[in-house]
Amino acid sequence: MARKSEREMAAAISEKRFRRIVESYGANPLNWPDGERDSALRFAEENNRAAVFIAEPAALDRTLNDMPIPAPADEVLINQIIAAKNRAAAAAGEQQPRRKHQRLHWLLPRLLGLAVACGLGLFLGFLQLGAKRVGPASIDANILIYGASGVEDDLREIN
């Protein structure tokens, strides 16, 4: 059995649907919905009545095409386009926190490392200060205080 071509495989559309397509989108197949273009073209090729349905939309298309006019600026439409863009941006933005989270994951070990290094630095610094407190200078001061207190003389007298 011969394999059917892609266009033959396309689902057949009804006459009603074909009329709806040309009345909505015009006679130019390029403007027809992508998913139905092949089926509509096949319908047009196989049905003589298709030419009748296309005649009027084609006349309107020619009228509109022959006179290039700028798209009419309309505040409502502009606002709708802006709103649609914002919706798309918001939809894209939903992925943003995940990305931030991922970035945080990447940063976290480095931040931890930095915190540990700072802590270690502080700890060593305090150790150093402590060492200074019990250093030779402070020992000398203690001996002087001890000598000035007279405790040593008292001990000598007792002995």
């Binding site: 909505s24 015009g26 309107l60 006179m67 009419p72 309309d74 709708q80 649609a84």
Partner: protein, 98 residues
């Protein structure tokens, strides 16, 4: 060396212009004005649908997304919009057919 001779144009020479005549240009301008008025005269949502699908060349899905409609509703707007345009531009359509 041969000298090149200049051949002056005839006294009443007028180059033929292949472009449209002033009356044709005027008629075209009037028709364009009619189309513009017809499109601008559509109800807001029909005008938006026609503008997006026809003049901006967006696909039906893109236009439906912008207008926050489903495809069926968009097609309904387009059909009504085009019918209204056809009614308003009947004269222009007949002229172009002829």
């Amino acid at each position: 060396m041969r000298r090149r001779r200049d051949h002056p144009l005839p006294e009443h020479y007028d180059a033929a212009d292949d472009g449209p005549s002033p009356s044709e240009m005027l008629a075209e301008s009037k028709r364009a004005q009619c189309v513009r008025e017809a499109v601008n005269g559509l109800p807001v949502r029909q005008k938006a649908a026609v503008t997006l699908c026809y003049f901006e060349g967006l696909s039906n899905r893109e236009a439906a997304d912008i207008l926050e409609l489903n495809i069926k509703a968009l097609e309904s707007l387009l059909t009504r919009g085009r019918r209204q345009l056809a009614g308003k531009l009947e004269t222009e359509m007949i002229e172009l057919k002829g």
